[in-house]
């Protein structure tokens, strides 16, 4: 029985050996799922879609998808796959109309609605093209329109900007933000990009090794990362000290060739792993256990001879460090 008072997504998902996670989201919310490769991000989407065996419970707008288990086609979802997977034998229009036709919408109506969706994505002039004749960005728009057209309760996006040129990804990100604002259902967005999480999401779910390492608003997660992965994504250093996390910006790190004297409480030593331009600075990755980022000016980098392999000391002032509790 559907319970109208319970809305949004409530899911606890366990896939033995791969994933054990819970996620809750209000209707209209966008949840960014981030984490390193193999963290279980795609597994989470596939489990929610019903494509992998799982234990646990999934409720969408008060309807259980798990007791009894619903077939994939009985779940009101839209899934945008990493490789788009547009039907190669159908036109853009045929692809977008497919879900409506499958749900018994008459052909004429379905095609009119599909035209409307292509129009909203600014590609209605490409309606008759086959996927092979579309660019990456166009194909991704068709894929997203196809997933949204049947009015799903849950939208699953698996790295929608992967493999696109930076410029294309940027404009598509803006467009997607607009469509997600209009979308009444819950969106789960798997991404590798901190920018996606910060610009598109209301909530961030950080997965690591198949479990939820952190959950919160994008602002919280970016300011107080609890995993190395997220710290790297948002360009922060984070170290764990007992039951306290300490995070600090690479800009706050002082680099020297000799052990620093003075008031700096936090000091590390290690070899430079890489030195790459970052804005108007040079960003160093130093294998200092843990790996740390440090920004120096190009002049300083030249003066200190900071090339990979060079042993350096890093230090940071206590005032530049934000400390927060583990739990």
């Amino acid at each position: 029985m559907a319970d109208d008072t319970v809305t949004g997504l409530h899911a606890t998902v366990a896939v033995p050996g791969r994933l054990d996670a819970a996620v809750t989201a209000e209707p209209g919310a966008v949840v960014a799922v981030i984490g390193p490769n193999g963290a279980g991000k795609t597994t989470l989407l596939r489990a929610v879609a019903g494509l992998v065996e799982m234990q646990g419970e999934i409720t969408v707008d008060g309807e259980s998808w798990t007791t009894p288990r619903r077939l994939v086609r009985e779940r009101r979802l839209g899934y945008v796959f990493q490789d788009q997977s547009l039907f190669p034998h159908l036109s853009a229009l045929g692809n977008v109309a497919f879900g409506l036709r499958a749900r018994r919408t008459p052909r004429r109506e379905a095609e009119a609605a599909a035209h409307g969706w292509l129009e909203r994505f600014g590609i209605d002039d490409l309606a008759d093209r086959r996927p092979g004749e579309l660019s990456g960005g166009q194909a991704q728009r068709v894929a997203i329109a196809r997933a949204l057209a049947p009015d799903p309760a849950l939208l699953l996006l698996d790295e929608p900007f992967a493999g696109l040129d930076v410029g294309v990804a940027t404009s598509l990100r803006l467009e997607l933000a607009r469509h997600l604002r209009d979308f009444a259902g819950v969106t789960l967005l798997v991404t590798h990009d901190a920018l996606d999480a910060l610009t598109l999401a209301d909530q961030v779910l950080v997965l690591d090794g198949g479990t939820v390492a952190q959950a919160g608003t994008p602002r919280e997660v970016a300011a107080r990362p609890r995993t190395d992965h997220v710290a790297r994504l948002v360009g922060l250093n984070v170290i764990r000290d007992g039951d306290t996390y300490r995070s600090f910006s690479p800009r706050a790190v002082t680099v020297s060739l000799n052990r620093p004297e003075g008031s700096a409480r936090h000091q590390w030593a290690g070899p430079v792993v890489s030195a790459v331009p970052h804005g108007d600075a040079v960003r160093l990755l130093v294998a200092a256990d843990p790996d740390l980022l440090a920004d120096v000016t190009p002049a300083a980098a030249a003066e200190l001879g900071l090339a990979p392999g060079q042993q350096v000391w890093l230090s940071v002032k206590e005032t530049a460090v934000e400390a927060y509790a583990v739990s």
Partner: protein
């Protein structure tokens, strides 16, 4: 100098053996074309025995293709898409007729569907249906030997298009039947066409299983190959004319395959 020339001359023994192989393949076909009594070609084509055989061959080979489409497509789908116990065993069984001597296929069909056969006996007793020596028997024999070609071709196409699109269709709410109709079969169409052409070609030339299971009765079971075999003993000119007709049909199929299949990546 082209890259090929820069590698040196092709070894002489290789060229000589290749020439023998090419001669072996081409000369008999050329002599058939040359020896065909073209003067009486069209008058022979009009004789009743030839027309009957042509009609039966056309009818049975088309019905064989229909049989493959209707029965072979579901079998290929099952083999490609459904995990069931004994699947690899079934696939192996399906391929046996590919390598089975056609006469043996005919004998096997007699033991199963003959008047006293395991299935044919009860069929005769219960319904008075006798299969051997009927046009239906020709179609059954042809389907038996042609189906493996069709099933393997279509199963290959289904496998290469993959389950990926079936999954996408399911996330869009399509039932398995709709998915089959609107996604799986359209994507497998090159394989279906190639399989049909192969099955048709196999059926056109079928002789051993047909003559064993269905006999060689003019007007009911005498196909072109059976008629060629019969006429060769008394009237080799007619046999050559009929062979020429089948050669043209085979080459036409090959041309169709080239366009539809061999050049499609």
């Amino acid at each position: 100098m082209s890259q090929q020339a820069a590698l040196g001359r092709p070894p002489t023994p290789l060229v000589a053996l290749a020439a023998v192989a090419a001669t072996l393949l081409v000369v008999p076909l050329l002599t058939l074309v040359v020896d065909t009594p073209w003067g009486s070609f069209f008058s022979l084509l009009g004789s009743e025995a030839v027309l009957d055989a042509l009609r039966i061959t056309a009818l049975t080979s088309l019905l064989t293709v229909v049989g493959c489409l209707v029965l072979g497509t579901p079998l290929a789908w099952l083999l490609a898409r459904v995990d069931f116990p004994g699947r690899s065993l079934l696939r192996a069984a399906v391929t046996v007729p590919l390598v089975l001597p056609p006469v043996v296929a005919g004998v096997a069909l007699v033991t199963a569907l003959g008047r006293n056969g395991v299935v044919g006996g009860p069929l005769h007793d219960a319904f008075g249906v006798t299969l051997p020596y009927t046009t239906t028997a020709v179609v059954i024999a042809h389907t038996f030997v042609s189906m493996p070609f069709y099933v393997l071709s279509v199963e290959g196409a289904l496998r290469s298009s993959g389950e990926r699109y079936d999954v996408v269709a399911a996330t869009l709410g399509a039932t398995r039947w709709e998915t089959l109709r609107r996604v799986t079969l359209p994507l497998a169409m090159p394989g279906i066409l190639a399989g049909s052409a192969l099955a048709w070609a196999r059926s056109l030339g079928e002789f051993g299983a047909t003559i064993t299971f269905a006999g060689n009765y003019p007007g009911t079971t005498q196909t072109m190959p059976s008629l060629i075999y019969t006429t060769l003993q008394g009237d080799p000119e007619v046999a050559r004319t009929l062979s020429m007709i089948l050669l043209v049909a085979s080459v036409a199929i090959l041309a169709a395959l080239r366009n539809r299949w061999l050049t499609t990546p």
